[in-house]
Amino acid sequence: MIGAGGIKQFQRRWQQTMYVEAMFYAVGFGGLVYLLTHNLFYGIIGVAIAAVIAVFVLKPWNISSENAVAYIDAHLPQAGYSSGLLLSPAHELSNLSKLQQYLIAEQLQPVLSKLRPPHNLLRATLAMFGLILLGLAGSFILDKVESPLNATPSNKEQITFAPKDSLSATLKIPELTGTSITVEYPNYTKKAPLNTTDPNIKAVQGSRIVWNLKFEGRVKEVEMDLMGERISFTEKKTGYRLSKTLEASGFYSFTFKDADGNDYVSNLYSLEMVTDEPPMVQIEGLDNYSYFEFDDDKRLMLNTNISDDFGIADAYIVATVSRGSGESVKFREETLSFDNAIPKGEKLLQLKKQLDLDALKMEPGDELYFYVEALDQKAPSPNIARSETYFAVIRDTITDAFAVEGNLGVDLMPDYFRSQRQLIIDTEKLIADRPNISEKDFKFRSNELGFDQKQLRLKYGQFMGDETEMQAAPGQVSSTEEGDTEEHSGEEGEEDLLDGYSHKHDNENEHNLVEEHDHENEGQVEEEDPLHDYLHNHSDPEESTLFEKSLKAKLRDALNIMWDAELYLRLYEPEKSLPHQYDALKIIQDIKNSARIYVHRIGFDPPPIKEENRLSGDIEDITNFDKQEAYAYQMSFASTREAISRLEVLIKNESSFSDTDSALFVDAGNELAQKAISEPLKYLKVLQGLRDLEKAVNRTEENYRMVQKNLLSVLPQVDDNPMKKAKYQDEINLLYLKELYIYE
């Protein structure tokens, strides 16, 4: 094994190169991690992980002596493709081989140590520097991005106190050494309590906030000033403590007194309450209205998405079935649960429910209204949200609407008569359809309409006593026959005929306004009284007494016009027929209106007034009525306005800050605080400025100016109010006005 050592050495060198390469990658990655996180620990972990991965990827241990031999053979001509021999034990080799082995060992000796194993060290180095550069760039960008975002947290506000009045320098000011604020969110939010020192708090409604303040030096009466309300801290061993449940947004500050009774105030901090949003309910893939035929599969698939910011407590479907219509409508309400059980506290739920209308015992014509209601976990009263209302209707195919022919005050029309209006509509439709239908069809329909027109004419003809015409109506042959056999007037025959279709009330004497005229009896009387024929002859159309004279003439006109209408329909000229139909309709409407019966309404008839007693009542007992009232009116933001004026005086340095000023600024602050609740951020600066004026150090002209400016910027306009203005009336002016008046 001469020269084997060289090969081994080469193999080792190769492996070492690979390890170094892996190390470069690892260091590069580690550097990237470190630069991004600025944390050495993460950097080291990054290095370790990257090293392991790189080593496993490169697998330096896989470099065997065979690899080394192959590489040497390929790269060193001196090896003569026989360097493998060097590794073989001498005793396994033939003599020639031994010779060759020896030769190669000799030749390789000087060159082998110079042969460099294949490597990607350059690439690895580049990768390392690349990663580090990337890290540098990344950290630079992150810095840039984060700095505005973290601006507030980075210089997190601390509670600072300043004495209210200027103090002698020798006095030892108690110092705040520790602040801890704990925000305990309500249980249902499942948020961990937050510990902070930043006194500007933003939390969910109902959160419990605990302030712990530690002081060095003796203090007393540590209080919180929450929008004018003063709440005392309780003294504990560890410091001062106050806990409060968050119910409204606002501002607060702390005050305390030192042993000498000097007041100290902190800055103003905001307390922002975030309300728990009600859940969002969405129903997917369902139209607001669904219609079902009776024989359909009456099932609705209800897919609901419910989401909430802190978790859903419950959700269900409220379904209402309405049955019937008009006054007889009935409602039935049911609460249905979803198919899947509702896990409490989930933030997002997908719920399904199949609504089977049959299971709800719905019948044709019934309507189902339903919506989904969801509750969240807010305590004590949960937020409730509901979806839109959806409708499902099973169509009722057998509904029949009872239509009354509107042309006359009496309802004598059986269903199968077309009214004049209907005829007009049909005629117009026929005209419109003409290009689309065959000639034969058109003529057929036109003829049909002509027949209907005739029917209608005959119907009205009855009122005129046109009995002969009735025979022409094929549908009523039997009735006319009946009329003939009974030797009654045509009209009476018609009455009988209609009995089958209309009930007893449906005649013009519905309300018994006229004495009931019993035709049956009349008929008998007729037989007994031979004179009857001469006195009341129904068979003569001209003597029909159903309508007064003018009406009769009108009806006759209508019938004549109907004749014409029918004529043109029969001639297949519906266009020409249409004007006649309209004329007929108009006359019939007139007749209808004149045939209405109006009921006189009976009202209150006052007793007649005695003229002589009028306006002579005794008013002695009536006295004057006195009422006294007072309203305290104050201009809106009066204190604020006054504060601005006062600040102007202070700016001009015409007088110095006094106790009344302090009270004025507190009043102004309270006025603005009312308004500030809705927009805390806009007002925080103003309120802070006002409060700062309580501290002696802040009473400078610049501060006055700043507070004044801020106050002016948030102050609303004065309400409109008429006011008395002062004016000097010059004698010349007065003279002028007087002259003006005289010579007017």
Partner: protein, 584 residues
Amino acid sequence: MSDGVVFLNQHLLWPVVLIGLLLFVVFVWKEWSQRKERRFWVKFVAAFSAIVSLVMIVLKPSTHQEATRGKAIILTEGYRPAQLDSLTAIYKRIPMEEYTKGRTLSILEDADSLFLLGHGLVPFDLWQIQDKSVAFLGGKKVGGWTAISSNRNEAILGESLEINAKYSNPKIGHLAVLTDNGGNPLDSVPFEELGEQVVTFRTTPKVSGEFVYHLLVKNEDGVLSDEPLPLKVVAGEPLKVLLINTFPTFETKYLKNFLTERGHEVLARTQLTKGKYKFEYFNGASNPIYGFTSENLKDYDLLIIDTDSYTGLGRASKAAMEEIVESNGLGVFIQPNESLFRLGDSNSPFKFNRDFLTEITFGELEQTLQKYPFTFQEEVRTQEVLVDSAAVAAYVPVQMGKVGTTLLQNTYQLVLDGNEPLYAHIWTQILNSMAKEQQNVAEWSSITKYPRPDQPFEFELYTALNDLTVKTDEGEAISLLQDDLMTHKWTGTQYPRKTGWNQLQVSHDSIAPFSYFVYGRDQLQSITKSETLKANYRAFGKTSSFAASVSATKKELVPISPLWFYIVLLLCMGWLWLEPKLVD
């Protein structure tokens, strides 16, 4: 010349003439013995001439003569060098002097025809050259603010204030901004490329007191100029209102609510039946009123009365009301109904035209309101009250007071519609225009518009009071000059020492102190320059040429040299002395 002989010692005329006559008589008497001789008459004439000469020596007769002195140039701030060059080219070796504010011009000693170049002399120096012949040639154009005025002397809290300002040489892209005393912008106007632009700012003061608003000129880079705009904002006082109705209406009810809730003292009287009334006293009103007397009406600022009550007023009540309106300034607001528009001239101060419109629209939200289908007839005395540039009401001044009415009806509908601000706005405009104005005992006004420290500030005080002493902040008394025609007008001059607000106080308690704003030297320079320019134009007119017409004949009284009289006297006396010697 003949018309121009004037005796300088006119007051001595008669005594001197008498003495002269006496002397003459004595002389004649002394020489009477020689009356038959010729020499008597010669002596007579000589003596007369001598005495006349003597008289003339004493009386100093003088004549108007053209004064002729030299020309000179006075250079003031803002003169154009080119103009000066052309002038010196025409008038070689013309003397000139540069003018400094407040200093006497020495050149005036020997020059009386002056070329005045530049913006001119400040008004308080004008006296120096008042009697000279001055050619005012003007100077460079003044750039910047050249005039600022406001629609009121004192702004009223909650009422709109309009400030008009003129800017010379504006540049496009620049912006004029009005800010309040804190520096919050209130209104702004962009400049256009014009020689001179008038900008109007509108704002409503929110706070009463003495403030200094600012007038800024800005471009994108920032503030170019910042000029102070002093503003005194005063708050009004609540009104005392008497409300008379024959029967209750919603209109009255809501108007009453509006007034009482805003703190006005209201006495509302509604008739219940014959002679019986419902009295409502709000915010401290007291004492029922049945018939009007000048005694019970004089405390009220505003009488709101419905048409039926107005027309149904008794003779005495009506007379009392009119008297109080005329002498005391009571405002009367007549609540209209249909019959008001049909009243004759004798009963109603208004005249109407029918316009058949029953609706009127206001505001950005297009709120419509019902109105009576009439408009006010335009008359000299009728003053319309505009709301959103629609005449909704009008009043007629009746000496000190006003009588007014409105065309609107059912305005309470606005309150029902929830548009209370518009309701308040309309009624505030209407009632403000009619309510009595409180009588001030005095009024101040400044004649010097832009006072500066250590420069005269002239002011006027109008008051009927006498024995006034005005004191400055420093406690020094200022004497006032009473106008001899208008005895109520007093003028005074003060030399303020500090910039900013200054006060003048009056010994009298009832007169409120007068606050005026003194501008710093570098504030509103342009406006002062333009004021100076205007004052000089007013004083000297405008001259555009350098012609010598400048030395307009300026006549002066020049006494006739007494030498002539002495010679005559000497000759005459010599003859009188010599003559006896010759005769002898």
